[in-house]
């Protein structure tokens, strides 16, 4: 499990990618991935393509990310596997995030 982050070449898209288990074990690395990033003027994206599964603490981390970037910034959750997507739906996160 690991968390990586990258900023697009045009500086307008910040992506956090999680691989493996998206659970409390990656709390620190997930939080530090965006803590220094100014949300003004950029979009945020969480890529779960390589996330095997996620638990409720991962949901909390996403909420913390949303709180960090503020209400005016959209967060896209992309490439989630069906199992992971289902957890997001159970938690009604499809109303809080854009899930693709």
């Amino acid at each position: 499990m690991s968390v990586t982050s990258s900023l697009s070449s045009d500086g307008r898209q910040f992506t956090i990618a999680v691989s493996g288990r998206f659970d409390f074990r990656v709390y620190e690395s997930f939080r530090s991935a965006y803590s220094g990033v100014s949300p003004a003027g950029i979009g945020f994206q969480v890529d779960l393509n390589k996330a095997d599964y996620m638990d409720s603490s991962a949901l909390g981390m996403l909420l913390l990310l949303k709180e960090y970037v503020g209400g005016g910034v959209q967060i896209d959750i992309v490439n989630a596997r069906p199992d992971v997507k289902n957890v997001l739906k159970i938690a009604n996160f499809d109303k809080l995030f854009q899930i693709h």
Binding site: D55, S56, S57, N86, V87
Partner: protein, 591 residues
């Protein structure tokens, strides 16, 4: 000359029974063996025995058939001795209220009269039967070439803990209680005859004998745990003399050599070394003198027979995580109990063992493996990371995948019918149960989830349902850890009890139930389940996820036990993995 006794040794523990039979034969008595209840019943009906030796751990079902025959028979029978270790939880012994000697037809006076005509063994038995403990001890001590202390104390311990304490205090001051493992008898040429017996259904005596015979165990060999080992070793040497050093180093190499257990003589296992991949389920015997840990391995890799199969419950008290994916289990509770070292468990837990000890053991075992013979088919592989990555650094075939052995079958619930496999050619999946108990210390380094997933996959062909099972299990485990144990434990002795019950196919659906219980104080689960309370933040929604992904979620007790039920069609080749839609529109926080 002592009269030659007709003895019957009955028990399905081949090792222990053989050892006892050898002992009696060496005494000049005629010994018959019965490996099962039916055989014992037949022999008792045909012949009068003077002495019956019955393994206390003879299967309860077999005992239920055998004991009425023994009690009702009028043949000349002397004594019924149960081989017990101190603290044994033998179901048979409990049912029988066994005192070590069960008086049968003829009564005590007849028994005594009969045995008094015989020699040493009979003298001892008479004393024991008469409840003359001091006479018994005196007879033992007067016999310079026979050391039966362990066995005697074991019997007496069953008879009366208080009486045993008195004996120890008055007759044998300073002598610690010994178990019944070993009878030692010096021979004329100065060699020591070690008679190894075990009441459990294992091949341990033969195994240890093999190890001894091949020089693997020697009096100069000692594996220790620093200060703890020194203390234990000194104590054993003081108690048993030089032979203790041998027995302290007893190693059991079992099941293809991937599980090693270090025993002390007569006191049950002290520490257990298991060289297994992390996450492999660890099981333990739920009965016996001390809990015995093992890992379940494929039967084809278990050259020691069925001794490794049938463990019912796991209790991991302390685990040291050793570099290289080794687990080291320490029965700290047994240590504290048997050696009277208060606080030892915690001390053991704090001083987690590092790689040196295990590496030393692994290296030596590996190097000596070719010397081991016969039934000790050692295929030692240390499973070091480099080797696991594909380098065949160890000899022998690669280890087979470990798996969980199904445990006791669970009966269907009342009113429910087991479905029959279509066409009669296929067998319906069998109900299975798994239990795991992990204490707080162990949970710091031990993740029970992988083992639980393995157990679920093994128990039931979950297929794509494994993912939702995993999610639910993960939520419940984390809840129990974070909000059950963490709030009450600290340095205390909390524990987590995990149960997995595959109930088979009921009404055309597979049924699986997961239970997680922590020793915490519980919580107001009704408020969460009803949606009255919700939360936002890092913690939350665990219950909602678990409830949505399981068929049913029930909280029991004070809220510290939760059961999640799963079902899926039995005839569905590839069922839908997850419910189509969430049931709850309200996010629920975890506890």
């Amino acid at each position: 000359m002592p009269r030659q006794l007709q003895c019957l040794v009955a028990g399905d523990d081949r090792g222990g029974a053989a050892a006892f039979a050898d002992w009696l034969s060496a005494e000049g008595h005629r010994v018959s063996r019965a490996g099962g209840a039916d055989s014992a019943v037949i022999q008792v009906a045909r012949r009068a025995f003077d002495l019956l030796v019955l393994d206390a751990n003879f299967g309860s079902e077999a005992l239920s058939r055998l004991l009425p025959v023994l009690r009702g028979a009028t043949v000349n029978r002397a004594a019924l001795i149960y081989l017990l270790n101190p603290g044994s939880q033998s179901q048979a012994a409990d049912e029988l209220s066994c005192d070590g000697v069960l008086h049968l037809a003829g009564g005590r006076s007849a028994l005594r009269a009969q045995l008094s005509r015989a020699g040493r063994l009979q003298t001892l038995l008479v004393s024991l039967c008469a409840g003359d403990d001091r006479g018994f001890i005196a007879a033992l001590r007067a016999d310079p070439d026979f050391d039966l202390r362990g066995e005697v104390f074991a019997l007496l311990a069953r008879s009366s803990q208080q009486r045993l304490a008195e004996i120890k205090r008055d007759a044998l001051p300073g002598e610690p209680l010994a178990g019944p493992f070993c009878l030692q008898r010096p021979l004329a040429d100065g060699r020591v005859r070690l008679l190894l017996a075990d009441h459990r259904g294992s091949e341990e005596p033969q195994l240890v004998a093999s190890l001894l015979a091949h020089g693997f165990l020697s009096s100069g060999t000692r594996y220790g745990l620093g200060d703890l080992a020194d203390r234990l070793h000194s104590r054993l040497v003081a108690q048993f003399g030089s032979a203790a050093a041998v027995r302290l180093s007893m190693l059991e190499i079992a099941a293809g050599g991937r599980c090693a257990q270090v025993y002390s003589a007569g006191m049950g296992p002290i520490l257990h070394l298991a060289s297994v991949p992390r996450g492999v389920p660890i099981a333990a015997a739920g009965k016996g003198d001390a809990e015995q840990y093992c890992v379940e391995l494929p039967s084809r890799n278990a050259p020691l027979g069925g001794g490794m199969v049938g463990w019912r419950e796991t209790r991991v008290q302390c685990i040291g995580l050793v570099p290289g994916d080794h687990l080291l289990l320490v029965d700290g509770e047994a240590l504290g109990r048997d050696y009277g070292l208060p606080g030892l468990r915690r001390r053991v837990a704090r001083n987690r063992f590092r790689g040196a000890l295990l590496d030393e053991l692994l290296t030596e075992l590996h190097s000596r493996a070719p010397q081991l013979c016969g039934n000790v088919a050692v295929e030692w592989c240390s499973q070091r990371p480099a080797e696991a990555a594909g380098t065949a650094a160890h000899s022998g075939p690669p280890p087979a995948a470990t798996s969980v052995v199904p445990l006791a079958s669970a009966p269907p619930q009342a009113g429910e019918l087991w479905s029959q496999a279509r066409g009669g050619a296929e067998r319906a999946p069998q109900p299975q149960q798994y239990r795991l108990t992990v204490d707080w210390e162990a949970l710091r380094v031990f993740d029970p989830l992988p083992g639980l997933l393995d157990a679920a996959a093994e128990a039931a062909d979950l297929g794509s349902h494994l993912s939702r099972f995993r999610s639910v299990a993960m939520e419940l485990l984390e809840n129990a850890l974070e909000h059950g144990l963490a709030q009450v434990c600290g340095e205390s002795d909390g524990e987590l009890r995990i149960g997995l019950d595959y109930l088979g196919v009921l009404r055309g659906r597979h049924r699986l139930r997961l239970s997680v219980e922590d020793s915490g104080g519980g919580f107001e689960h009704q408020a969460w389940l009803s949606g009255e309370r919700c939360g936002n933040g890092l913690r939350g929604r665990g219950i909602a996820i678990a409830r949505s992904l399981s068929d049913r979620l029930d909280y029991r007790g004070r809220g510290n036990r939760v059961e999640a039920s799963f079902s899926w069609p039995a005839d569905q080749a590839e069922p839908a993995a997850l419910p189509a839609a969430p049931r709850s529109a309200t996010p629920h926080p975890r506890r």
